[in-house]
């Protein structure tokens, strides 16, 4: 048989089976809904017909039995009870398995005759169990269904692009005309006209590209429904196995998300739902004892929130008890005693996200194997989503997932580091800060910076990524750091500089680079070069053991090499001036010279020096007088002054000190050491 017909049948069967499954579950709640029964009847009938046409007897026979059963229900000859619902569900399961086997070209995985015989006996037939949740592992396939409208619009936009290209071509020929200069050199007016026309074209081109991009991206979007459709059944089966009664309500399942996102969302939902049924929801009697309805409700609600989608999974079960969670975490060695005491109630809830945590006292079939929320967490990080928990003991548990709308375009901050450019999704970026040496504190051998009252670990992005360090950027005395946020944790990563933020297109690295630490993907920058998109969870994971930035040390060295202080040297002798100047400069001081007392007074008016070195005997006012005059100035009252003189009598030393000088050096004993020592003792 031609595979074309098989394909068509498979797709059709899939649709009918899905609506059959969903419809039967609805029927369970609304047993008197005749319209619904009729609809189901139609599904079964169509399935029977198409299967028979292609000779798929198994499917057609099962569909036939279901059709009969539904007909009896429609005519009121048979009650819509639990047993009937079970038979219908089993029947549609069996057909799904048969169709699946057809798709894979395998023989059916159960004996169809036995199944039919059981149906005919009126039993609820068994299929060698391989629950519906197992077969849903296979992704979404390689094909998408697109609305004809979308395709039309894509084609239209492409047409517009072609027109735009023609327009640009005509601009080129008019430019050629201008350049050839047949009518003399082009006038400014002509050039201006040309510029305006070109600008219009580019503007329109930009608009077209945006539209096209949007439409193309939309092709990647699928409604949430594509994954939630099987959940009714899953929850129902799980609950029944445990003797619980649960209703699953789904709101906003029409919200569209990127298909890649949906694929990774599915296992998350499975975990959250099994968790809720297994741990959250009490047995009916217990619920009634607490004044709650016997039947529990799990509600999945999805809604748009800005550029993201928020999905809330809420159950009205027993809630999460912080004390019990702490105990369990302690028992499993997830935390130690001290940590337990420090944790608040809300923070305790997040312990359930840590690997190796599970509160279920007994290891059950469905959950409680130490996997669960941590898996959700991990998958969520991969798609740049966040998770938050809320619970009221005895009343409810709420898990909120915040997801980006699409994975293919994200808002990212570009940073330069170690000669490369990296992109960091802004959803993780709290802010960028400038860190000065004095902002860095060493705690237990690790460097931290204070940020509005909290301390944030500081690591160097380049050393984390194993790139060559670029110390010369310390010259300004400041480094740029990007403060990243992952859940409640903060991390400051130093970078060479940040290059602004913008939307980037996310590209996968291809099969040769299956999983690369620190790298989430890549994008292509405006200049055509690629830039890696950093995986922030990886940065957090590796920052723990990372070496310190060494910035404090580097800053200290810098400090030593840096200008130590500004000194004014006053002397009428060029030899003395030059000598003193070179001694001081070679030891890191910044030196200016004045040739006389008057010159010095002029210089101090504009600049605040840290120290003044002056001769005594100079033309004009002498060193003592200069000292006295400086002391009168507000800005120089406290500035140290050293008098250097050939006058060695005690009388002169006394005069100098009276005038307000801090030190007196006799030129005869003058050597490098004395001057430097004195300067250092005064201003360091």
């Amino acid at each position: 048989m031609s595979s074309k017909y098989l394909d068509i049948f498979l797709r059709e069967a899939d649709e009918h089976l899905t609506s059959l499954q969903g419809g039967v579950l609805r029927l369970e709640k609304e047993p008197a809904n005749k319209v619904l029964i009729h609809e189901l009847l139609r599904n079964a009938h169509t399935l029977k017909g198409s299967a028979r046409m292609l000779g798929f007897e198994g499917v057609s026979n099962v569909a036939h039995r279901l059709e009969d059963l539904l007909k009896e229900m429609e005519e009121g000859e048979r009650e819509v009870d639990e047993r009937a619902i079970d038979i219908l569900l089993r029947g549609s399961d069996a057909m799904a398995r048969l169709v699946d086997a057809l798709a894979k070209g395998e023989p059916p995985s159960f004996v169809v005759e036995d199944f039919l015989a059981a149906l005919d006996r009126g039993d609820v037939p068994e299929i060698a169990m391989q629950g519906p949740s197992c077969k849903e592992e296979d992704g979404f396939g390689d094909t998408v269904r697109a609305r004809v409208k979308t395709l039309d619009s894509l084609v239209n936009l492409l047409g517009e692009l072609i027109i735009n290209k023609k327009r640009l071509e005509s601009r080129v020929s008019s430019l050629k005309f201008l350049v050839r200069g047949d009518g003399g050199p082009p006038s400014l007016r002509e050039l201006g006209q040309f510029q305006r026309e070109l600008e219009d074209d580019v503007l329109y081109l930009d608009y077209l590209i945006q539209e096209l991009h949007g439409e193309a991206m939309e092709l990647r979007m699928l409604p949430l429904r594509t994954i939630t459709d099987g959940f009714q059944r899953l929850v129902r089966d799980l609950a029944r196995d445990q003797g619980k009664e649960v209703d699953l309500a789904i709101d906003g399942d029409g919200i569209e998300l990127d298909r890649v996102l949906l694929e990774s969302l599915k296992p998350m939902f499975l975990h959250m739902l099994t968790n809720a049924v297994d741990h959250g929801i009490e047995l009916p009697d217990e619920r009634k004892g607490h004044g709650k309805p016997g039947k529990a409700t799990i509600r999945i609600s999805a809604r748009h929130e800005g550029d993201s989608v928020q999905i809330l999974v809420r159950d009205d079960g027993r809630g999460m008890d912080p004390a019990r969670i702490k105990q369990a975490a302690l028992r499993r060695g997830v935390i130690d005693k001290e940590e337990a005491e420090l944790l608040g109630d809300e923070e305790s809830l997040y312990l359930t996200l840590r690997p190796g945590f599970s509160t279920s006292e007994i290891v059950t079939d469905v959950s409680g194997r130490g996997v669960g929320l941590d898996v959700v967490q991990k998958n969520l990080e991969r798609v740049k989503g966040t998770l938050s928990l809320r619970s009221v003991v005895g009343a409810c548990t709420e898990i909120t997932l915040q997801l980006p709308l699409s994975l293919s375009v994200v808002e990212a901050l570009l940073v330069a580091c170690g000669g490369e450019c990296y992109a960091v999704p802004v959803s993780y970026v709290l802010e960028t800060i400038k860190v000065r040496s004095e902002d860095i504190v060493t705690v237990g051998g690790k460097e931290v910076v204070a940020l509005r009252g909290t301390t944030v670990p500081l690591v160097s992005l380049s050393s984390l990524l194993g790139l060559p360090a670029r110390k010369e950027l310390l010259e300004t005395g400041k480094v740029t750091a990007v403060v990243l946020k992952l859940r409640e944790q903060l991390l400051a990563c130093t970078v060479d500089r940040h290059l602004g933020s913008g939307e980037i297109v996310v590209k996968q690295l291809g099969a040769q680079m299956k999983r690369v630490t620190f790298v989430f993907g890549a994008t292509i920058l405006g200049d055509g070069d690629p830039a890696l998109i950093l995986s922030v969870p990886d940065l957090f994971a590796h920052a723990e053991g990372a070496t310190t930035t060494g910035f404090r040390g580097a800053f200290a060295e810098q400090e030593a090499a840096r200008v130590r202080g500004r000194i004014l040297v006053v002397d009428d002798s060029i030899t003395t001036r030059t000598m003193e100047r070179s001694i001081l400069v070679s030891h890191g001081y910044q030196v200016e010279v004045a040739v006389s007392g008057e010159d010095a007074l002029e210089k101090v008016a504009g600049v605040q020096f840290d120290l003044v070195v002056s001769d005594v005997e100079m033309p004009g006012i002498n060193g003592f007088e200069l000292t006295r005059q400086l002391r009168v100035l507000d800005t120089y009252r406290e500035v140290p002054i050293i008098i250097v003189s050939s006058l060695s009598r005690d009388e002169h030393k006394r005069q100098a000190l009276e005038a307000g000088a801090q030190a007196y050096i006799v030129k005869g004993s003058f050597d490098q050491g004395t001057l430097l020592d004195t300067v250092e003792s005064l201003i360091g």
Binding site: E420, L465, G466, L467, K507, Q508, L509, G510, A511, Q512, M513, K514, R515, V516, T517, F518, V519, A522, I524, G528, D529, P530, A531, L532
Partner: protein, 181 residues
């Protein structure tokens, strides 16, 4: 009659001979074709290497390569191949060859693998030619295991030795894949 017959036989014989010759000639051409391999030849570590042209998608000047943090030495970086992110490999360490700098004649040969495209950095491209296989020798015994894994053998040509890379083995090597699990 007899003569005619003889002549007739002779004509048949001649025709048969001609046919045989014709077919032999064809076979000879086919054999000669089988003895040649269409290859791209290039320099690696100063030696001449080659692999079949069908594996090569295109040759590019070496673009800017963006380094990937903490990966094996032979993955030099990634580059933009018309919107696709492709790795560039320096396979010389794998073959035990010296890593001479890639000068202005350095190129990237984009290789089509089953699962991925990858870029092979080479010191220069020598050309594309049908190499005669009559001097083909299988990989030398003296080579270490790792080197021999990726080489099929060598050809002694008039203008020197050409070493034939086993590109299939190379692309299947786990050493060239980054998988930090």
């Amino acid at each position: 009659m007899g003569e005619e017959n003889r002549a007739g036989y002779n004509i048949d014989g001649i025709l048969k001979e001609m046919r045989d010759e014709y077919w032999q000639g064809l076979e000879a051409v086919e054999e000669a074709l089988e003895e040649q391999l269409e290859c791209v030849t290039f320099a690696l570590g100063g030696e001449t290497y080659a692999f079949e042209t069908i594996h090569a998608a295109e040759v590019l000047r070496i673009p800017r390569l963006v380094k990937i943090p903490k990966v094996q030495e032979l993955i030099v970086g990634v580059f933009n191949l018309r919107g696709e992110i492709v790795a560039a490999m320096d396979i010389r360490p794998l073959l035990g060859l010296p890593q001479l700098p890639f000068g202005p004649s350095g190129r990237i040969i984009v290789v089509k693998g089953e699962k991925f495209h990858t870029g092979l950095l080479v010191e220069s491209i020598k050309g594309v030619a049908a190499l005669p296989l009559d001097t083909f020798e299988v990989a030398v015994k003296s080579l270490s295991g790792a080197q021999r894994d990726y080489l099929r053998g060598q050809l002694q040509l008039s203008d020197g030795l050409v070493i034939l890379l086993d590109i299939g083995r190379l692309l299947a090597a786990p050493e060239i894949v980054i998988d930090h699990g």
